[in-house]
Symmetry: C2
Subunit: 353 residues, 2 copies
Amino acid sequence: MSRFLSDRFSDIEPYTPGEQPKNTNLVKLNTNESPFPPSERVIRALNAAEISRLNLYSDPETKEVIAAIAEVLNVKPDQIMMGNGSDEILAFAFQAFCDKEHPPCFADITYGFYPVFCRLFGLNPEIIPLKDDLTIDPADYCDKNKPIFIANPNAPTGLTLSICEIKNILDTNRDTIVLIDEAYVDFGGQSAIPLINEYDNLIVCRTFSKSRNLAGARLGFAVSNSSVIEDLNKMKFSFNPYNINRLSIIAGKESILDTEYFEECIIKIKENREYTVNELTKRGFSIPESKANFIFAKPCGITGTEFYKKLREKNILVRHFDTERIKDYVRITIGSYEQMQTLINATDEILGR
Amino acid sequence: MSRFLSDRFSDIEPYTPGEQPKNTNLVKLNTNESPFPPSERVIRALNAAEISRLNLYSDPETKEVIAAIAEVLNVKPDQIMMGNGSDEILAFAFQAFCDKEHPPCFADITYGFYPVFCRLFGLNPEIIPLKDDLTIDPADYCDKNKPIFIANPNAPTGLTLSICEIKNILDTNRDTIVLIDEAYVDFGGQSAIPLINEYDNLIVCRTFSKSRNLAGARLGFAVSNSSVIEDLNKMKFSFNPYNINRLSIIAGKESILDTEYFEECIIKIKENREYTVNELTKRGFSIPESKANFIFAKPCGITGTEFYKKLREKNILVRHFDTERIKDYVRITIGSYEQMQTLINATDEILGR
C-alpha cells in the first residue's frame, strides 16, 4: 500500500481469481470455462480485415451485439446493456442501486465477488446463511426491502431456485432491485428474463464466459427495463464508455446467433456432468444437484483440501474454497468427456482404488 | 432514471464520447484515432489458433503485455498496471487517491472526463483556469497539497509542459499524487516516465489508442512505483480482475515491440500535422502549437460551430466543444495526408476561396 491510498480503502480485500496458468498440460477445471472453442462463426468473423481496423474505436453503444442478443432472447435492445464481463455489470449494479440507506443482501455461500464489491463501495451487506443442505431458503429473501443479489444457479453449489420462488421474492420486494445473476443458467436453470416486463425491480445478469465459450473475450450483459438499463449506462458512461473492444463486440454477435452450436455444447456439458456425478457418487462423494457447468463435490475418505492438493499434483486444477462451511468440498468444472475421464481415473488413484 | 438509482447519482452527467459512426464514407477526424492500421505483427499474431482459445479466461495479471512494455520503456514489470483503455486507469486513480479530504485539482480546459469521474465518486474538484493563451501556468499547481491531474500534452489544446515544469510541480506536492496523463506524449511531448524512481507521488498514464493504432483494442496503462501500482491493482481486483481480453493482451504486446512501425507512423503524423497547420494558418486560422495527433484550430471569418457544421455537411467529422472559452475552436485529428488534403479543400470551399 502506498501512503496516498484513500483511508477508506485501508482494509480493502480484492477478489482472488482462480489460477490461470500458462502451462497447457494442465487439465483446467477450476474457473468454469467451456472446454469447447468458440463458434466457427466467431473464428471466421475475426478475420484480418477486422483486426486491421483496430486503430478505430469500438462503438460505445455496442449496438451490433445488443441487436443480436435482443433477437435471440426476444427482448428490446433498450432492455440490454453490455459489460466487460458480467463482473463489470455486477460492479455497476452494486454502485448504482446500493448505498448506506440501501445495503445489499445476499447468501453467505455464493459468488465470492459480492462482498468484494461491498468493500469497494463502502456497503455493509446483510449476509443470509444458506440452509444446512446448502440450498437457499427463498423465504429468507421475502420483504427485505433491500437490494437483493442471488446467483441462480448459485455458485459454487450449482443449486437453483424455481421461477415461482424468484417471482415470490420479486413480489415481496417491489421497491428495491432484485438482481438475478444467471451466469450458469443455460446449463439447466430457469431464466427470469421473461419476467422483466412484469417486474420493474428485476435485473438479470448474463455472461458469454460459460455457455457461449468466450471467457477470454470478456462479455457480459444485463437485461432489465429500459429505465434501469439507462441507470446502468449512466455508470458505464461515467466510468469507461468504450468498455467493450471491437473484436469482442463481433465475437459476441456471432456467438449468440449460432444457436445450433450453442445447444450442441450445452448437451455435451450436461452429458459429461451426468457422467461425472454418477462416477463420483459411486465412489462415495456427496454432490448437490447441479444445474451449472460445475459440480460441488464432497469427497469421501479424504478432506477437500487434500483432494484438491492431490489432484493438483496430478496436473488437474479444480477450485477449493477455504471457507469454514464449504472447506470439505471442491468445485469441479465440467469439461470435455476426456477431461472428466482423466479426473475420475486420478480420483481412483488418489483414493487407492 | 429508474426509481431505484441511489440519490447520490440523481444529477450525474456521464461523459459524451465523440461520434463513432458506422458510415465509413466519412473522413473521421473527431476522436484522435490513428489513421493507420495496427502493426503487421498484431495482424499476424491474432490468428485463428488464438481466436479458438477465446473459451479460456485471459490472464488477470496481463503478464505478457506488461513484460513487453517494461522492456521497451525500460521500467520494471511491477511498475506497470494495465487498464481497459486509459479511461479505466484514470477512473481507478480518481477512486483510489481522492476523497472528501483530498479533492483533486485540474484545469478548466482539459480532458473532459476528469469532472465526470468527480461526479461519479462524489468529489468536489478545484478547477484551475488556463491562462488566456490556453496554456497551463505551472505555478498554479505548486504547493496544492491535493491530487493533481494534468494532461500533457493537454487536450484539446495540444500544448505541453516541459519536464522541468512537471518536476517543479512534483517537488512542491510531495505528499499527494500527481498524475500526468500522457495519452498524446508520443507525438512530440516529453514523458515523465524517467522520473518515476525519483518521485513516489508520480503516476504516468498512457494509452495504446493513439500512437499504437489500437483504439479498438482498449488498452491503457499506468507507470508508477510498485506501491502505487499495487493500490491501483487493488481497485482493479476489487472491480473487474479480468479487465483485459485475451486478444488485446496479445495485440498490445506485439504492437509495443514493433518500434520500427511505431516510429514510422509518428513521423507521418508529425508531417501531416505540419502540413495542416501551415495550410490552415495561411487561411487565417489561429492554432496553438500542438505536440499531439490533433490540432485545436480557431477559424477566421466563421464561428467554430459553423465551421464544424459545414465540415459535417461535407462528410468530415471533427470535434467541437460547446464550452464558453473554447467554442470558437474545433479540434481536428491529424489523419493521413489524403484526409488532411480533403479537409483543406473542404475548408476552401466553406470559406469561399
